[in-house]
Symmetry: C2
């Protein structure tokens, strides 16, 4: 294989994310996680530091992926509409590749302890950049002059919730989903 095979630690984090998605961070015990892995709870600590460290790994990996993706989109100076399409693709791609982690990011971020502030900073920056792209679109008359916060909220809500729908819709490819979403979010639904 070209890709290195998964380490035990990575496996634990992957399974943990899956459980976090099902029940939430607080409701998942180390004994739950161990049982799913087929070992005893104490054995987990040969591989990971703490329950909290697992959450940090799951959430921050994805948060930084979004930050990187946003930076890349802002570098390629395209039109606002093109940048929005690229953002939709970014969300679809990440949601397809790691729906469980994304669920934890959306639902369990408030249980981050030491890294909470850092996470919130990344999220605020991301939202500010997203808002900026929409603002430019309104100035250029590419985008309707409706309340900008409502536009931002509506797009982010849809994109952030993708992880809930993607697992049920494997009939739709990543590209098809991006295309449909782009059409709906940008052009609306009425004829």
């Amino acid at each position: 294989m070209s890709t290195k095979t998964e380490t035990r630690k990575e496996e634990i984090i992957r399974i943990a994310a899956k459980l976090f998605k099902q029940k939430g961070y607080s409701a998942v015990t180390m004994r739950d996680l161990a049982k799913t892995m087929g070992i005893k709870a104490a054995s987990l600590y040969n591989h990971i530091e703490s329950k909290q460290a697992i959450l940090q790994d799951v959430i921050l990996t994805i948060a930084e992926e979004f930050t990187l993706g946003m930076a890349s989109i802002q570098n390629q100076k395209a039109s606002s509409t093109e940048q929005l399409k690229a953002l939709i693709q970014l969300h679809v791609r990440i949601a397809c590749h790691n729906p469980d982690g994304l669920a934890a990011l959306n639902s369990d971020w408030m249980h981050l302890e030491d890294k909470l502030e850092y996470y919130l900073q990344l999220r605020n920056d991301y939202e500010a950049n997203f808002r900026h792209i929409i603002e430019r679109g309104i100035e250029n008359k590419e985008i309707k002059n409706v309340d900008i916060e409502v536009i931002l909220f509506s797009m982010l809500s849809t994109l952030r919730t993708l992880y809930l729908w993607i697992p049920k819709k494997d009939r739709l490819s990543e590209d098809e989903l991006s295309a449909s979403l782009t059409k709906i979010l940008i052009e609306g639904i009425n004829t």
Copy 2:
């Protein structure tokens, strides 16, 4: 006053919903709830049956409100677009009046025990009815013939997440928010 003053039980449920929104059902302890109420944990049980009963009350009250609202909208046989507008108003109204309860419904439904099946039935019925309204709109050519599941997902995601944004946006009245949302969700954002 015309409205009866809040009972102690109602107060407990209201505060519980607020805490559930902040940390999630599993992370809120009866001692947390009691401390916020200014009493001891054991005293809560003079008013409520169990922690689980609080969750059921919070979630099912709202779930039934949505079910009732949907039925009312389907009775008034308007165009699909008009019915979608009414649905948007329904979501905005409920989210404005009980954002905390709505948060619990969205994030903590999986912790329902005995009532889980009932909740899922209400939710499935609601989604099926929503889907049906969109279907009729496509048949009538009121709505673009894009993948119907993507349209449904996009609208529901936005409407279901309203509770996250409403508390920060009290500058926007309920009616103004409905109006902006309707414009964006139905007509899209491009000029």
